[in-house]
C-alpha cells in the first residue's frame, strides 16, 4: 500500500479569513471535512460542497483519492490515475487558495471502509465525511465513527465540467484511451452476441417462424426476442459509434432544457420552528 501525503496550509495568505481565523487557534486543532473519492477526478458537486461548507464553518478539507483497484495495478492505469488525481487536486487547491482554506491531500489504496476508520482514529478532528459517487454509503457508514454524507449529483452534465476546467488535458485524454479500448471490447462482446442471436434465428428460420407466428401465448416469443436484440444490438451499436469516436458533444449533452427558471414546487407551509428558545425579561 503506497501512501503519499502533502499538505498546504494557505489560510495565512487570505485577506478576509472570515471564520477561519477566529475559530482555529492553532492549525493542529483545525477540524477537517473528509472528502472521499475513488475516481481520478473528484466530481464537481463534491468539490464545490466541500469548499462551501469548509469556508462557512472554518474547517479544513482532507481530500482523499482512493484507488480501490490496487490488485489490478497495471502500470499504465496507476500512472493515469495519478495524472488525473494531480489535476483534480490542483483544481481543488486553486479554489481553496481563493477562499483561504487549508487543504490536505492523500492518495492511497485499499478498502474504503478500513481507510475511513483508520483516518478518523488517526486524526481526531475529522467531523464528518462526504463521499463522491461510486462509493457505496453503507460501505463507509459501517466503519465510520462520524456522520457520512453522499453528495448526490442529479445532472450528469456537471460531472463533465470538471474535465473541461483543466489547465492540461493530459490525464483526461489518457483516461479516454482506456475507455476507447473498453468500447472496442464491448463492441466485440455484444457484436458476437448479436451475431449469435441473428445466426440462430436465421439458421432455424422455418422452426422459428412456425413457433413465433402461432399467436396466443407464443406472442411473448417475438417480444422477448426483440427485447434481447435491443439489449445486445443496442449495446453493440452504442459501443460501435463510441469506438469510432463518434460520441455526444461534451458541451451539448447537458443542454437538455432551456435556461428557464426551475418550476416552483407547489407551495408548502413553512415548517414550524420547534427549537428551544431563551426568553429574557429585563
Amino acid at each position: 500500500m503506497t501512501t503519499q501525503t502533502t499538505t498546504t496550509s494557505s489560510s495565512t495568505r487570505t485577506e478576509t479569513p472570515a471564520l477561519t481565523a477566529s475559530r482555529v487557534e492553532a492549525p493542529r486543532d483545525r477540524p477537517f471535512i473528509l472528502a472521499l473519492t475513488r475516481n481520478g477526478h473528484m466530481s464537481e458537486p463534491v468539490m464545490e460542497y466541500a469548499l462551501r461548507v469548509a469556508h462557512r464553518l472554518g474547517y479544513g478539507i482532507l481530500a482523499v483519492h482512493v484507488d480501490t483497484m490496487p490488485l489490478a495495478k497495471l502500470e499504465k492505469r496507476s500512472h493515469l490515475f495519478a495524472a488525473a488525481v494531480a489535476e483534480s487536486v490542483a483544481l481543488l487547491r486553486e479554489h481553496a487558495d481563493r477562499l483561504g482554506l487549508a487543504v490536505e491531500h492523500l492518495q492511497t489504496a485499499g478498502r474504503i471502509g478500513d481507510l475511513v476508520a483508520r483516518l478518523c482514529r488517526a486524526r481526531k478532528r475529522i467531523d464528518f465525511v462526504i463521499i463522491d459517487k461510486g462509493i457505496r454509503l453503507e460501505e463507509v457508514t459501517r466503519q465510520s465513527p462520524v456522520p457520512v454524507f453522499p453528495v448526490v449529483n442529479r445532472q450528469q452534465s456537471l460531472f463533465v465540467r470538471t474535465f473541461i476546467n483543466k489547465h492540461t488535458h493530459k490525464g483526461v485524454s489518457a483516461m479516454a484511451t482506456i475507455t476507447s479500448k473498453r468500447h472496442v471490447k464491448h463492441c466485440l462482446l455484444f457484436g458476437s452476441l448479436t451475431a449469435g442471436l441473428y445466426a440462430s434465428v436465421f439458421a432455424y428460420q422455418d422452426l422459428v417462424m412456425t413457433w413465433f407466428s402461432k399467436g396466443g401465448v407464443y406472442a411473448l416469443l417475438p417480444v422477448a426476442t426483440v427485447f434481447a436484440v435491443s439489449y445486445f444490438h443496442g449495446n453493440f451499436t452504442s459501443a460501435f459509434w463510441s469506438a469510432l469516436g463518434i460520441e455526444a458533444s461534451r458541451a451539448g449533452a447537458g443542454r437538455q432544457t432551456s435556461t428557464r427558471p426551475a418550476v416552483p414546487e407547489p407551495a408548502v407551509a413553512p415548517r414550524r420552528d420547534t427549537r428551544p428558545r431563551v426568553q429574557l425579561n429585563a
Binding site: 399467436g215 417475438p222 426483440v226 443496442g234 451499436t237 459509434w241
Partner: protein
C-alpha cells in the same frame, strides 16, 4: 383463433436485395427517429409491401420493430438528460387509448367505404396534418434561426395552459414544467390516433409537446421515444397475439435502425435547437407532397375522378419515391450538421 390466422399468413422468402433494402431503410429511419423522436416508420410499411409482404404482416412487423428502436433511443437520450420519463409514460398510456380509438375509426371507414375509402382517408389525414403542422413547425424553426436565439421560448398558448390550475396538476422535473393532466390527454390521444392512422404519432406528439405542453424541442423529441415505446409495445403484443409478426423482417430492420437511432441521438447533442424542428418540418412537408400524389389513385378507385391507368401507376411510383426522398433528405441534414458540429467542436478544443 389460430385457425383463420394461419390461412392469412404468407411469409416471404428473403433474398439479398430485400435484406439490404430493409437494413438501409432501417438505418435511415432509425437515424431520423433518434433525432426527431419518430418518423421513418411510414416508409417501412409500403416498403415491405413492395417486397411482397402482405399488408397486415408489414404493419405488424413495422410496429414490432418500432418499440425496441424507441427503447434504445430513449435510453441513449436519457443518458444525455433529455428524457422526461414521467411525461412520456403518462402520455404513452393515453396515447394507447388514442390508438384504440384510431383503429375503431379505421374499422368503421373500412366497413362503410371499403379499402379504397380507408386508403383515401389515411392519405387525406396525412396531407392535412402534415401540411398544417409541418408548415407551422417550419415557420417557427425559420423564425428561431433568423433571430439567432439559442434558448427556446415557451409559446404563449403553453404558458397560458400551464397557469390554469386544474386538478390533477403534475410537475415534470426534466421538462421543467407544471401542467394539468387534462391538457396532456388530448395531445396524447391525438398522438395515438395519428399513430394508428399513419404509423407516425410523433408528427402530432412532438409539436404537441412543444407548442401545447411547452417542452423544449430536445425534451419533446426525446420524450416522444418513450411514448412510441409504450404504444409500440402495446400494439406489438396485440399483433403478435394474432401471430402476424415476421420476426425475420423485424430483426433485419432492427439491425440497421439501432445503428441509426444511436447516431441520431448523438446528433441531438451537437445541433442547435431549431435544427430538430427544421428536420421535422422538412420531412413532414415532403411526405405530404408524396401522399398528395397518392390521392388520385384512391379517388379514381372510388370513381370520384377518372384517370388513365398508366398515369395512376406513375403517380403511385412517384409517391413512394418522394416518401423515400423525404427520409433521405432528413437523414442527410442530420448527418451533415452532426459532422459539421463535430468538426467545429474539435477545432475549438484544439485551439484552446
Amino acid at each position: 383463433m389460430h385457425g383463420p390466422v394461419n390461412e392469412v399468413m404468407q411469409f416471404i422468402d428473403l433474398n439479398a436485395y430485400s435484406i439490404v433494402f430493409l437494413f438501409l431503410v432501417g438505418f435511415i429511419g432509425g437515424l431520423v427517429s433518434g433525432f426527431i423522436g419518430s418518423g421513418g416508420a411510414f416508409v417501412l410499411t409500403p416498403g415491405m409491401m413492395s417486397l411482397g409482404v402482405p399488408g397486415t404482416v408489414a404493419v405488424a412487423s413495422n410496429m414490432c420493430h418500432k418499440f425496441p428502436k424507441a427503447l434504445v433511443g430513449a435510453i441513449k437520450r436519457y443518458r444525455y438528460g433529455q428524457v422526461d420519463i414521467k411525461l412520456g409514460l403518462i402520455m404513452g398510456v393515453f396515447a394507447e387509448i388514442g390508438v384504440q380509438v384510431g383503429i375503431m375509426i379505421q374499422k368503421h371507414i373500412l366497413d362503410r367505404w371499403g379499402e379504397a375509402g380507408s386508403n383515401l382517408y389515411v392519405s387525406v389525414i396525412f396531407v392535412l396534418v402534415l401540411v398544417t403542422v409541418g408548415s407551422f413547425v417550419l415557420r417557427d424553426a425559420l423564425k428561431m434561426k433568423r433571430s439567432g436565439t439559442e434558448a427556446e421560448t415557451t409559446t404563449s398558448l403553453a404558458k397560458r395552459l400551464q397557469q390554469i390550475e386544474l386538478w390533477p396538476m403534475v410537475t415534470f422535473k426534466t421538462a421543467n414544467l407544471r401542467i394539468s393532466v387534462w391538457f396532456l390527454v388530448p395531445v396524447a390521444i391525438a398522438t395515438g390516433m395519428l399513430a394508428a392512422t399513419i404509423a407516425v404519432g410523433g408528427f402530432i406528439g412532438v409539436p404537441g409537446l412543444m407548442y401545447i405542453v411547452g417542452a423544449t424541442s430536445i425534451v419533446a423529441s426525446a420524450t416522444e421515444l418513450v411514448i412510441a415505446f409504450v404504444m409500440g409495445l402495446g400494439g406489438t403484443l396485440i399483433w403478435a397475439y394474432y401471430g402476424m409478426v415476421d420476426i425475420r423482417l423485424v430483426l433485419l430492420i432492427l439491425a440497421g435502425s439501432l445503428f441509426g437511432v444511436q447516431l441520431g441521438a448523438i446528433g441531438t447533442t451537437y445541433v442547435k435547437e431549431y435544427m430538430i424542428k427544421y428536420v421535422m418540418a422538412t420531412i413532414m412537408l415532403i411526405v405530404a407532397v408524396s401522399r398528395f400524389f397518392a390521392l388520385p389513385k384512391y379517388l379514381s378507385q372510388l370513381r370520384i375522378i377518372s384517370l388513365q391507368e398508366n398515369w395512376i401507376g406513375l403517380m403511385t411510383k412517384a409517391s413512394f419515391a418522394i416518401m423515400c426522398l423525404a427520409l433521405v433528405v432528413g437523414a442527410s441534414i442530420i448527418l451533415f450538421s452532426l459532422f459539421k458540429a463535430r468538426r467545429l467542436e474539435r477545432l475549438s478544443t484544439v485551439g484552446v
